[in-house]
């Protein structure tokens, strides 16, 4: 029965599964990503999530799906255009076309049921789309998706995804035994009958592909023997938080941050902690602050609008020097903005969004692995520097899935039991070391340590400041902590040559795409390098010196900036991207910015184009 197939060797591929909401595209995609990771391939997945739970069917806005980029080697970002796409209907694919996700040659597997739809508009729309896709150069392969599923399940909306899994497994020669294991794990709670149905669907998809497809892909893997785990960014944050010894996670539901706490809530009890769902964002951070004041390690997880609500509390945490970790999974703003989409717009509001001068520590993981390890770092920093530490991730990292080396847990990461020994009554509650601004912290329960913490300006005894010099002095002490921390940091490493024509600077989730763009540009002979910052406050040392080695410096960010090419802007009114604004003020270097807010992760080729454009402008000036 097996057809003679054309075997196509590939180094990497981008696969998309796009459906109406509720058809399980993400479940199948994440499973497909996991299988590839288990087989030793590099993987990066990114989810396409509509803002509503059940948006209208067969609509651009309702497209729900997932992109899986798999590679022979490590994959660091979602890449450019898709190679293979499975569309449950043709209309949802238009949302992908709008975001330039396909190119001529992209293979579209399309459910052919729409060609036989009893509804005339659907038939017409499908026929028109087929024509359109052909004109665009996409290669359409019609599949009997719903038809085959109906043979096995009454409601194909609950089955198509596994049939597609079967098809993809055959197409990429994936190990169906592994899929079977994943299915058993995924549906363990739903019982044997559901598992059996899903396995049948998988088999049906596989067999259809085996009999009907004329080609098959072959992708090898680098088996380097490294023990890896595979998680998305939000799971990594949750795992990292637990490994870092947090006991209290206080939250209020907000997209796209909440899944961190869903994950934690499912296992936190076994690790001795608990998730508090507060009545609102302010209470969520207040609860964490209270726990921390009482000596317990606490974090709160939120997104931009939640950050805005929390600002007064965050300033309290600075003012009263209460250790606290705040995870901000950034989404599009301002206001409610783009709830499910990526943006890096909270940098300046995190840094400056509190009344008064409130120096804060801000770090930004750039990979899924860093989402884990930065939580361990964040807790240590919060305690050592006695104040809030902000971990800025984003919607891209939140749902992005990537394998990374299994963390080697250490007991010292866990928080030590709270100190209940007698406090030295000669030590003041804010006995600032004038060199560092650091001070030891008494915790309730410590005899002779009683003090009243206050958000009012206070002296080292925590007494309300009635003398005029107290405020100046205590402000200086809180600020000094950042300088102290900065001195302990290493200068960031340049990706590419140490000097050149253009340095691209980024932060957060854009790292993989930026570095891939830089690698490609360098292969084309361009003298470009990149720098990715982990610390946004304080900034890592030596940045100015690195900038000075390049003719030009440009940030690439997913937040809004005025395009200097527009006729409305000049040096006096042009608004820069957020990191650029920060770096300009700190280094006095005329840093350019290239930033966009498309609601999806920046693609390497777009960044490469921006680099080329900037270099052309530079050439023009010379």
């Amino acid at each position: 029965m097996k057809k003679e197939k054309e075997l196509i060797e590939i180094n990497e591929h981008i696969v998309e599964i796009v459906s109406d909401s509720g058809e399980g595209a993400q479940t199948a995609g994440q499973m497909f990503g996991t299988i590839n990771a288990k087989m030793g391939n590099g993987v990066w997945t990114v989810e396409i999530i509509p803002a509503e739970i059940e948006p209208p069917k067969r609509s651009k806005a309702g497209a729900s799906g997932i992109r899986i980029r798999l590679g022979r080697n490590e994959v660091t970002n979602a890449g450019d255009v898709a190679n293979v796409v499975v569309g449950f209907n043709e209309q949802v694919l238009y949302s992908r076309i709008d975001t330039n996700s396909f190119e001529p040659g992209t293979i579209l597997f399309l459910d052919k049921k729409w060609s036989e739809s009893p509804i005339e508009q659907e038939r017409t729309a499908y026929a028109e789309a087929l024509k359109d896709f052909a004109e665009k150069g996409y290669r359409v392969i019609e599949i009997p998706l719903e038809e085959e599923c109906l043979k096995l399940v009454p409601d194909p909306r609950r089955g198509k995804n596994m049939w597609v899994m079967g098809l993809l497994c055959e197409l990429y020669q994936r190990d169906t035994g592994l899929v079977e294991k994943e299915i058993r794990k995924k549906f363990a709670r739903k019982g044997e009958k559901i598992i059996d149905t899903n396995l049948k669907l998988l088999k049906s998809g596989f067999e259809w592909a085996e009999e009907n497809l004329t080609f098959q892909y072959q992708i090898s893997s680098l088996d380097d023997g490294i023990d890896r785990i595979v998680t998305n960014g939000n799971q990594a944050i949750g795992l990292g938080a637990m490994a870092a010894g947090f006991e209290v996670c206080s939250m209020y539901p907000i997209t796209p941050a909440t899944s961190v706490t869903h994950y934690m809530a499912s296992v936190f009890r076994d690790v001795g902690g608990f998730v508090h769902q507060a009545e609102d964002e302010i209470a969520a951070v207040g609860f964490a602050i209270g726990s921390s004041y009482a000596g317990k390690t606490a974090l709160t997880v939120t997104s931009g609008p939640g950050m805005a609500l929390k600002t007064e509390m965050l300033a309290l945490s600075v003012m009263a020097e209460i250790p606290l970790v705040i995870v901000d999974v950034q989404r599009g703003g301002p206001s409610t903005g783009l709830p499910t989409k990526v943006e890096q717009s909270d940098l300046l509001s995190t840094l400056y969004g509190s009344p008064g001068d409130a120096p804060k520590i801000i770090i930004a993981p750039s990979t899924i692995e860093e989402c884990f390890h930065f939580m361990v770092m964040a807790r240590k920093l919060a305690e050592q520097y006695r104040g809030p530490v902000f971990v800025l991730t984003d919607a891209n990292l939140a749902t992005g899935v990537q394998p990374f080396p299994r963390p080697q847990l250490e007991e010292e990461w866990l928080s030590p039991p709270i100190d209940q020994s007698d406090w030295n009554p000669n030590v003041e509650p804010y006995q600032w070391d004038p060199e560092t601004g650091l001070s030891p912290r008494p915790v309730p329960g410590q005899k002779d340590g009683t003090y009243v913490l206050t958000g009012l300006a206070h002296n080292s005894k925590s007494k309300v400041a009635y003398e005029s010099n107290t405020n100046q002095e205590s402000m200086a002490m809180r600020s000094r902590k950042l300088a102290t921390l900065q001195k302990t940091l290493n200068p960031p490493a340049v990706h590419g040559a140490e000097k050149g024509e253009l340095l691209v600077v980024g932060w957060g989730s854009t790292r993989g795409a930026i570095e891939e763009a830089i690698d490609q540009a360098r292969e084309e002979g361009l003298a470009v390098s990149s720098l990715h910052l982990k610390f946004l406050s304080p900034l890592e040392p030596g940045i100015k010196e690195i900038f000075d080695r390049f003719d030009k410096v440009m940030t690439v960010e997913i937040n809004y900036s005025d395009d200097p090419k527009d006729p409305y802007y000049d040096q006096g009114n042009q608004r820069h991207a957020q990191l650029a604004t920060l770096l300009r003020s700190q280094t006095l270097v005329d840093i350019k910015s290239w930033s966009r807010v498309p609601g999806y992760p920046l693609q390497p080729r777009i960044i490469k184009n921006a680099i080329k454009e900037e270099l052309a402008v530079a050439g023009g000036v010379k």
Binding site: R228, V248, A283, T454
Partner: protein
């Protein structure tokens, strides 16, 4: 070994606290302010209950009354306007060993912090919440609060406030899982003390509204009640605030009210002919959130690491 243990016990027993051990600084409230009386009552409670200062925390928001923690020689947290309750809940969540008190005013609790108020009552964590209800904003200089009487003059309503005041007791009684709801007055130290003492004994959130005089802005608000105590009805019951002879002498108008009766409690809360004081409602069976949030406190590092490794296994490839 036995000898050593005896020595240690002796030392612990020797730790006896006097009232001064709970006093800190000179209160900066106006002379004649009801807060002074409440402070004295609380310090007396700490002393009589021999609460260890280091294991006692006073959390407050912002306002005149919220300066309270500064005058206690215990741990204190003078927080933000309206936010004392979520912070106190956080303090309590993993520290069953601490005595937690919340001091909040009518603006702090029933206006800017109203959302937290409602939910803290429902969480029912073990703590004493004292609402210092002077029916006016004092620290910001005489603005209408939610509990300001109708037609009363204030700087924001110079022609008199327009609508009926919010009734903190009927609000709290309407919240699911409320477990201890009482009213007392600052000018009767005997009833004030007895109420606070019962509140401290309660396993859950004890909400005590204290009608409190503000000599500066609302000096006349409570004079009617003070001049004629029969305008107050003292709720009596064996499960309520214990009444003493001294109390009985002062409060001639007394009625029996069973604090387990929520319907009757609501009737009392809505009384207009007289102001009821005492215990409106008590439910010792209401779930206590802090019992749940403190679970797992004794988890060993080994158990934590084992659970974490198990989690990593789940994600292993």
């Amino acid at each position: 070994m036995i000898g050593l243990k005896c020595d240690w016990l002796m030392e612990e027993e020797n730790r006896h606290f006097v009232v001064e051990d709970y006093q800190a600084g000179e209160p900066r409230w106006c002379p004649g302010c009801g807060d002074h009386a409440i402070l004295t009552s609380i310090q007396r409670l700490c002393n009589e209950e021999q609460l260890e200062p280091e294991n006692t925390v006073f959390v407050s928001g912002i306002g005149c009354s919220s300066r309270f923690p500064h005058y206690m020689k215990t741990y204190g947290f003078h927080s933000l306007h309206g936010r004392a309750l979520p912070i106190a809940c956080g303090v309590r969540s993993r520290r069953p060993d601490l005595n937690v008190f919340v001091v909040t005013g009518d603006g702090d609790c029933t206006s800017i912090g109203a959302g937290h108020w409602l939910h803290a009552i429902r969480y029912n964590m073990k703590m004493v919440v004292l609402l210092f209800d002077n029916q006016i904003y004092g620290l910001t200089k005489m603005q209408t609060s939610p509990t300001t009487p109708k037609n009363a003059y204030s700087n924001t309503h110079p022609q008199g406030s327009w609508i009926e005041p919010l009734n903190p007791i009927s609000v709290v009684l309407g919240i699911t899982n409320a477990s201890f709801v009482a009213t007392t007055v600052d000018w009767n130290p005997v009833h004030l003390y007895a109420t606070i003492k019962e509140a401290h004994k309660h396993n859950g959130l004890a909400f005590v509204r204290i009608m409190q005089r503000c000599p500066h802005f609302t000096a006349d608000y409570f004079t009617g009640l003070m001049d004629d105590p029969s305008k107050i009805v003292l709720m009596e019951h064996e499960d309520g605030i214990p009444t003493t002879d001294v109390m009985k002498k002062y409060f001639k108008n007394r009625e029996t009210h069973d604090p387990s009766n929520i319907i009757e409690a609501l009737d009392y809360a809505h009384r207009t002919d007289a102001i009821p004081i005492g215990l409106f409602y008590k439910n010792t069976n209401a779930p206590v959130y802090s019992d749940f949030s403190a679970m797992g406190l004794d988890t060993s590092n080994d158990a934590k690491l084992e659970a974490l490794e198990k989690e990593l296994n789940k994600f292993s490839i």
